[in-house]
Amino acid sequence: MARMAGRRALFAVPVLGVVTFGVFAVAAASPFDPVKAYAGTAGLTASQENLDQLRVNLGVDQPLVARWWDWLTSALRGDLGDSSVMRQPVADVIAERMGWSVLLAATAFLVAILLGTGLGVLAARRPGGWLDRCVSSAAYTLEAAPAFWLGLLAIWFFALKLDVLPAGGLTDAASEVVTFGQVASHLVLPAAVLGVSQLPWFFLYVRQGVADALAEDPVRGARARGLSERTVLLGHALRSGMLPMLTLIGSRVPELITGALLVETVFSWPGIAAATVEAATSVDFSLLTALTVLATAAVLLGNLLSDLLYGLADPRVAFDG
């Protein structure tokens, strides 16, 4: 198991290297001009000389490979460079925002997994029952609903109609101090929306897995031996029904990242997502590359995690190595 983790970690190194170069290459080929993005509206009245000087100052007049090599060597020394769009070091940008995105995504993931598993087991118990029918059709509807639309709907209902939850931000807009209570109450809606948008996949997988398992011989055997329904359902059926879901956990990570991006925008959540979009449209090489590396690492870790969990849950699966 440790071996597999080590092997995957080694494999991640060239992948991340290729990704960084890819980001530089794609950004360089993109039609966006980093100088114009940096100058913003001021660029529309700036003289050509002023713009040319900016190009030199920002270092974007250098060839692609030289720029990438510069970035890579200083990144390896711990210097991630300066973000041109945020006007501050990349490390600061990430440090300021990363935690809030991780908090949001982790909470949402937890919501999706717990709710998805719970509802999935309940629905599988009585396939075709009222609970199964209700939740399944809701899940299919949710699968089609974009996260930002759900977000606006949630704001309209919980913040506007019922006035029970704040509509956005990390804390009340007038508050300057970040307290646990404030963040907790502001986290409810975005995390719930993001979680619910991820929920259908977990629910449908668990429901199918458990329902299949209930029909399998070992479960029928367990029932025949007179084990309690609870033991049969949770101990036998859920355990084998969970297997496909563990794979799903890893593969949902990219989706979670893009979902968080939309949800953060709707709820003015000060996470990393908005910075990612801005970095991309402003061709902010340093920031964009650092964020892409982080996202890639998250996906690789997600896959590793789901493989490990799979191995733990099913002794028949050998770790690759």
Binding site: F32, A46, R97, A173, E176, L312
Partner: protein
């Protein structure tokens, strides 16, 4: 492996993830605790987030930043008033030297005194080409700036530049802080220290800027003690949060502002602006370069209908960069919509209707593309309306969308739906729009406009220090634009704000094209009284 060991593994993973999250979220905030019961606060929603709060990189260059002061400031009528300077500058007879006496006893919010060295530092840093300031061109006239003792600053100019005093509204940065770090990325860009009425307590990027009143402000401590700008890019979300009571005020597009018309607890404030939309008519294009075509388009376009249909009535027809209600506007240069006259001009110039209704002259079809910025709905609607009006006169315009990267290389030959506007001085817009020597220089003079009479007039307008003489010069420019329009100016756009009734008195400045932090009824939040609109305190 048992179910128990799975649970242990899962629990361990979760615990690690949560503790990492908790550690990453530890709050570095150093603001004083306690929300100060009884103090007043205001929260406004804005659509735009600044890249930086450093004046050295261009923040607040048009004055009126809450954290900083300039040497001068603009009041509600856009007249210059002394701020960090003790009075208006003394200008030498040749217009080449500006001398500012500084206000005494002013301190930065960190307690250190403000002095002449800070002014010199600020301007010299901006003029340094290693500083990534995209607005440096605006200070092009400055040759040097020197301190003359502790309390006097002298600017010497390369050429006489009448609106120079308007440029000195730009905020002054403290040398003892900003001079000690990387000017482009240092901590000062996000944690600024200034002399202004408010002190930035926190900038949660992507979420909000929090300010607290500066108790030692030289202009008197503001009544609104806490001021917050929440950054909400989506118009609908902003309107929703305003309605839910989360915000006290917000900038809104006209259709959403209308939704608050019946709300007794809120006021809608309309700011007039210099924010224009115009169509560039490049001289290098065989069709748009023909003066007859330009003049015909100028009167074939129905500006009144654009204001009503596109802006819901919240705006004015534009005949040049100067809005019709400005003191710099030349009365009598309004051009009413007159399709028949437009057709007559084209007929007389030899543009005869072809088979498909589009006019032709010497084998050239009266057709050209008009570019607008992708995703900008307002520009798109202007472009389509313009094309439809032109079609009635027999000119075929195809509206096309693109990003600036796509548009820029085509600007020499293709028309562009452009926007702009800076209200402080007529020179700011007209010089860069019309000066022939600036043709094709970055985004200056996008239409490659070339008119000797206009060149002479805008040059006279910027060099003369005499107001009557300047007015005469800009009158000449506006009359020349009737005879030979290099652009078809379409509309000036009002900006709408909805604000809670308990604040007041509410005013706005004449606003520029940019939606900076300074715009909106909160431009003078430090002067707001919280007794309601009745308790006026000017």
């Amino acid at each position: 492996m048992t179910a128990r060991s799975i649970r242990v593994a899962v629990a361990a993973t979760m615990a690690t993830a949560l503790s990492l999250t908790a550690a990453a979220c530890s709050n570095p905030d150093t603001a004083k605790g306690g929300s100060g019961s009884g103090s007043t606060s205001a929260v406004v929603g804005i659509a735009y987030e600044p890249d930086s709060l450093s004046p050295l990189l261009g923040y607040g260059k048009d004055g009126n930043s809450k954290i900083f002061d300039g040497l001068l400031a603009l009041d509600a009528d856009m007249k210059l008033r002394p701020a960090l300077a003790a009075g208006l500058p003394e200008v030498s007879a040749d217009g080449l030297t500006y001398t500012y006496k500084l206000r005494q006893g002013v301190k930065f919010s960190d307690g250190k005194p403000f002095g002449a060295k800070d002014v010199v530092f600020t301007y010299r840093t901006i003029l340094d080409e290693k500083t990534n300031n995209a607005s440096r061109t605006e200070l092009d006239a400055v040759k040097d700036v020197t301190a003359n003792g502790e309390d006097t600053v002298v600017f010497t100019l390369k050429y006489p530049y009448a609106p120079f005093a308007q440029r000195t509204v730009l905020p002054i940065a403290p040398q003892h802080v900003a001079g000690e770090q990387d000017v482009n990325t240092g901590a000062f860009t996000t944690r600024p220290i200034g002399t202004g009425p408010y002190v930035l307590t926190k900038w949660s990027k992507g979420e909000k800027l929090s300010f607290t009143a500066n108790p030692h402000y030289w202009g008197g401590e503001p009544e609104v003690k806490k001021f917050t700008m929440a950054i909400i890019k989506d118009d609908d979300v902003r309107a929703t949060r305003l309605r839910s009571g989360d915000l006290d005020g917000a900038i809104l597009p006209p259709n959403l502002a209308k939704g608050f018309a019946d709300d007794k607890s809120k006021k809608t404030v309309t700011a007039t602006t210099y924010d224009y939309r115009t169509v560039t008519l490049p001289t290098h294009n065989k069709v748009t370069g023909d003066t007859a075509v330009r003049r015909a388009l100028d009167i074939a376009v129905d500006r009144e209908t654009m204001v009503d249909a596109i802006l819901n009535g919240d705006g004015k027809p534009a005949y040049g960069p100067v809005p019709t209600d400005s003191e710099w506007f030349t009365q009598g240069t309004e051009r009413p919509h007159d399709l028949a006259a437009a057709k007559k001009i084209l007929d007389e110039a030899g543009w005869k209707p072809g088979k498909d209704g589009v006019r032709v002259k010497d084998g050239v079809r009266a057709a050209f593309p008009l570019w607008y910025l992708t995703g900008d709905k307002l520009r798109q609607e202007h472009a389509l309306a313009y094309a439809s009006d032109a079609k009635k006169a027999g000119i075929a315009i195809t509206a096309e969308a693109g990003s600036w990267e796509v548009i820029e290389p085509r600007m020499k030959h293709d028309a562009v739906l452009a926007g702009g506007g800076s209200p402080a001085d007529p020179d700011f817009d007209q010089y860069t729009l019309l000066k022939s020597s600036l043709a094709g220089d970055g985004f200056n003079n996008m239409a490659w406009y070339d008119n000797k009479a206009v060149d002479a007039a805008i040059e006279a307008g910027r060099r003369s220090g005499d107001r009557t003489e300047r007015k005469k010069a800009y009158d000449t420019v506006q009359r020349e634009l009737v005879k030979n329009p290099g652009y078809t100016f379409l509309t000036h756009i009002d900006h709408l704000y909805v604000v809670d009734d308990r604040f007041g008195p509410l005013t706005t400045q004449v606003e520029p094209h940019d939606h900076g932090l300074a715009s909106g009824p909160w431009w003078n939040v430090e002067k707001w009284s919280t007794e309601g609109a009745g308790g006026s305190k000017k």
